[in-house]
């Protein structure tokens, strides 16, 4: 167990709290830098998706995890970023201009969405953001001059100062990694300053926040704008990664995936966004593999248990029909969310912390350490 003897206020301000983190994060960074040389194309591409999902996860973590404002509209901000990138690139705007513009535009629209949040709480806010997302989806489908409507839009290879960065290349991988690190550092900076504390204050008690001099309206709008802006950045990268964007890619299901990123990761720290992103990106190929393998496996188990060939074939057909049923993915996502909320409310990052603490305190770790106490003194009257 490590005891940190504090002699300076800087020790509480610093991002890396002690030298151990310097080693572990340094090692992680080295590994991430080496990835393009070590792994195959497919895995590298998956890791790029992890980065993009993690950027959105960090954005949503600021809004939902720290400010306490739920949003099921982040697919729309991603779409705004993606289409801004696609449209501007088509008209010859260079990357270093349209990349920040994607963030600014998404952030500006995010600020507008933040205004209803001044009056709406909880489930009502969620519904408002869903409504906003469907409006954006509809606009993207109808505004054909700009978005090419339902036919979708081709996005050409990213061109950074004359250097082409193809979607599967190492250059694109490093760009996404750099953006993710930049976004995380910016968020950490924010969270250790007055603005970040104001966000947390709004999450935990709006009444007290108000009385402590926090302008609720201003900070909610700021939180929405920052979150949407970061998602816009991710959107621009997403467009270049997909090379083709169309309105049906940015549906409610994608927003639910983003919410899952933070619920599964653990909605109380930025680590959670990264853990959740890894989980969400890796669960998709896993589900696809299940869809392909499970019917065959079950059929062969049936056969070895003495089932007739025709009956086994029928079983195989039934299973694969279930496997390819529309909406099954959503149902499985729903199940995963419920399981996490019921059995691992602190998410993967919470589990990580528990395991870490177990080894730090070994053999003194007590199971009740993370048990949550209910308190009954909170008043909601002044809301």
């Amino acid at each position: 167990m490590r005891f940190i003897f504090k002699t300076d206020y800087d020790q509480d301000i610093r991002i890396l709290k002690h030298s151990g983190y310097l080693w572990s994060y340094g090692l992680l960074l080295l590994i991430l830098l080496a990835v393009p040389f070590l792994v195959g194309n497919y895995l590298q591409s998956q890791i790029v998706f992890v980065f993009i999902y993690a950027i959105v996860g960090v954005a949503l973590m600021i809004l939902t995890g720290f400010t306490g404002q739920a949003s099921l509209g982040h697919a729309a901000f991603l779409a705004i970023g993606a289409y801004t990138a696609g449209f501007m690139q088509l008209h010859g705007v260079p990357f270093f201009v349209y990349f920040p513009l994607a963030a600014l535009l998404a952030g500006g629209i995010g600020a507008l969405v933040g205004f209803p949040a001044l009056r709406l709480h909880g489930i009502y806010l969620v519904i408002a953001t869903i409504a906003f997302a469907s409006i954006v989806e509809e606009v993207l489908a109808r505004w054909e001059d700009v978005t090419n409507g339902n036919e979708g839009m081709r996005v050409r290879t990213l061109d950074l100062f004359g250097l082409p960065l193809p979607r599967d290349g190492a250059g694109f991988y490093y760009l996404c990694l750099a953006v993710l690190i930049g976004v995380i550092l910016m968020s950490l900076n924010l969270l250790r300053s007055p603005t970040g504390r104001a966000f947390v204050a709004i999450r935990d008690s709006e009444t007290a926040g108000k009385s402590m001099g926090i302008d609720l309206a201003g900070y909610k709008v700021k939180s929405f704008a920052i979150s949407a802006g970061i998602t816009g950045l991710a959107g621009a990268l997403f467009a270049h990664k997909m090379t083709f964007i169309s309105p049906e890619m940015f549906t409610l299901l994608l927003s639910i995936e983003f919410i899952m990123v933070i619920i599964i990761g653990g909605a109380f720290g930025l680590h959670g966004a990264v853990f959740g992103a890894i989980f969400m990106v890796m669960v998709d190929p896993f589900l696809t593999a299940l869809k392909d393998d499970v019917p065959t496996t079950i059929a062969s188990i049936g056969q070895s248990l003495g089932m007739a060939q025709s009956a086994a074939d029928q079983l195989h057909d039934t299973m694969s029909r279930i496997g390819s049923a529309a909406g099954l993915k959503g149902a499985i996502y729903g199940l995963i969310i419920m399981m996490f909320i019921a059995f691992e409310p602190y998410g993967l990052y919470g589990r990580w912390l528990k395991v870490k603490l177990f080894f730090q305190l070994f053999p003194l770790y007590k199971r009740a350490t993370f048990k949550r106490q209910k308190t009954y003194v909170k008043s909601e009257r002044n809301r």
């Binding site: 007055p194 603005t195 947390v200 008690s205 009385s211 402590m212 008043s379």
Partner: protein, 252 residues
């Protein structure tokens, strides 16, 4: 014009008059207590002062300035801090973070400076921290700096709330039942601290309290309310001897 003044304050919820034409004034550097049975309108007056409610009628003056229309988040900047009857701390944050939120009204850094964490932000953070440490020292909270509020016992939370209010360096502090839920020893400590807040820090205290021992021990002046109306005001013995107050508490 006195330090803090309430003039003809009324608050109506539909047909119910929660606060009915209440006037009083608080002098700089005194401890002024509002007492009254449950539902007398004491907390409503606090919520009016901190601008969580809009008064139906009446005016509030602080240091000669009309604050009746000041938005709630600017009240702290003017120098009025408060605590809550049912504890409104930021549960899932550490005590330090809670106290630093108390410094929010003195924040001078801009969003973009904070995103980059410029040296200016770091310097401001350290200055805030230094002030917070003074308050921690003052209220003996050294043991809880990095503890989450959710895990702290009730008595400590009550003190943390006072600490958070003090961190904003107020001129006037509103304490809503500082001793509710505290045991005898903790109430004793609280009464010392309230006097210290007045004597050492020079902060004027406006307090709602039920514990008459505490009221008698610390208050300079007392105002008794019932059904939103002022029954009596004066020194603690005067108010307690007032026939209307006795009737309100014991029934006539």
């Amino acid at each position: 014009m006195s330090f803090f003044q309430v003039e003809g304050l009324s608050l109506q919820f539909g047909g119910l008059k929660a606060v009915d034409n209440v006037s009083f004034d608080v002098a700089r550097g005194e401890i002024f207590t509002i007492i009254g049975p449950n539902g007398a309108g004491k907390t409503s007056i606090f919520n009016l002062i901190s601008r969580l409610y809009d008064p139906t009628a009446g005016k509030l003056f602080f240091e000669g300035r009309d604050i009746t229309d000041v938005p709630p988040h600017q009240i702290a900047r003017l120098g009025i801090a408060r605590t809550f009857q049912n504890i409104e701390l930021f549960e899932n944050a550490t005590m330090l973070a809670n106290l630093l939120v108390g410094r929010h009204c003195h924040a001078t850094t801009h969003l973009w400076q904070e995103m980059l964490f410029l040296p200016k932000v770091r310097a401001a953070e350290k200055a805030h921290r230094r002030k917070v440490e003074e308050v921690i020292e003052f209220l003996d909270l050294q043991a809880y700096r990095d503890k989450l509020i959710a895990g702290l016992p009730y008595g400590v939370r009550k003190v943390v709330e006072v600490a958070r209010a003090l961190c904003s360096e107020p001129k006037l502090i509103l304490l809503d039942e500082p001793s509710s839920g505290l045991n005898v020893e903790e109430t004793d400590d609280m009464s010392f601290w309230i006097r210290d807040i007045k004597n050492e820090l020079g902060i004027t205290v406006l307090m709602v309290e039920h514990d008459m021992t505490l009221v008698n021990r610390v208050s300079d002046r007392v105002l008794a309310l019932n059904y939103g109306k002022v029954l009596a005001s004066g020194t603690p013995p005067e108010v307690q001897a007032h026939p209307d107050v006795i009737a309100a508490y014991l029934g006539a």
